[in-house]
Symmetry: D2
Subunit: 110 residues, 4 copies
């Protein structure tokens, strides 16, 4: 994972916000539109895998071209997730931390 | 955003990995399956908004029940994104940072 | 397939239109919302299969409960597809027929 | 809608089956993969609408290029839906007819 000197979530969110503002894209960034865009990008990730066997799917990073496509779609999914969270003032890391807490209660480890 | 003392991405990823391992879920966590699960959760987020006007969509956090649903789906999307990245050894923050770099060249601000 | 006496596409479309009209749902049925609803239902179909192996996925109709869920999601996908086509005055059967014609040229059989 | 002389669902399904068989695609057409492909195509339809207002979304057929894209995605969604139903021996028209019957009971018209 990104170490202490790498990009962090708060910094990426600021860059995305500035990027959209500089291009006048804010009116398009309703929560409804950003949720749709997020799901479209998630489907583009699925598309890479749709005809692969489970075994082939584990080797997608072995080919540089496919590896690039996968990283690119991961970036798009994360970008829309952060922008969605920005317009609704949601902290995604806190939301996930609380969800893991709840799941530890709901699905006790054997 | 989560401050210096809040949960961070690396820590959340470790908790998710431990959670899945303790329940024997790793065999199900192929990249193909995790990409599908990510897209299913993204669609559950879309479902909250599907019949709302753009204006209504901006007010989803005003009702506690809907706000909870939205945060819950955000958590699920992020959880599957981090688990997908874990099994393919992708750093999502670095991937997004590089994508923003490329987009700044592709779409110059006016 | 449904034989000469079974339901046909035109008849189903009429029933769906009357159903929505009787409940005052037309204002919600913009093409944008119906496309989103269609993708949400398609994801609910994916959800049934997301953790299954390819072999298990071929046996989903063996269990009555799962078979019912699958048929139910198929119905929902088709319902939104027909309603989407209705509001935009698209003939889905003609669209598919033309697409197969084009694909026969684009991907010649060996 | 397609009249008495137009393409019908059973005929389109036969053409799709022959098309896939002639190209040796059957091993890829597991129910799991076809459900994923269906959801990917549904998302490509959503993508056309993602930044449009509800009003703009109602006018997508006014531009020939966009109209073609919309019809093309409709064809893809229907193609994968029919192929999915084929491999699981589901009659989609009967499934929808039964679903409308159930919905008329569940959601009585006012």
């Amino acid at each position: 994972m990104t170490g202490a000197d790498g990009p962090d979530v708060a910094g990426l969110r600021r860059r995305l916000t500035a990027f959209a503002a500089a291009r006048g894209w804010e009116p398009y960034h309703t929560p409804k539109n950003l949720a749709a865009a997020l799901s479209v990008e998630a489907s583009e990730l699925v598309e890479i895998f749709q005809w692969l066997t489970p075994e082939e799917s584990a080797r997608v990073m072995d080919t540089e071209e496919t590896a690039h496509r996968v990283r690119d779609e991961v970036a798009d999914v994360l970008a829309y997730l952060l922008q969605f969270c920005k317009v609704l003032d949601i902290d995604p890391l806190a939301a996930l931390s609380e969800k893991i807490d709840r799941n530890e209660t709901r699905f006790p480890a054997p």
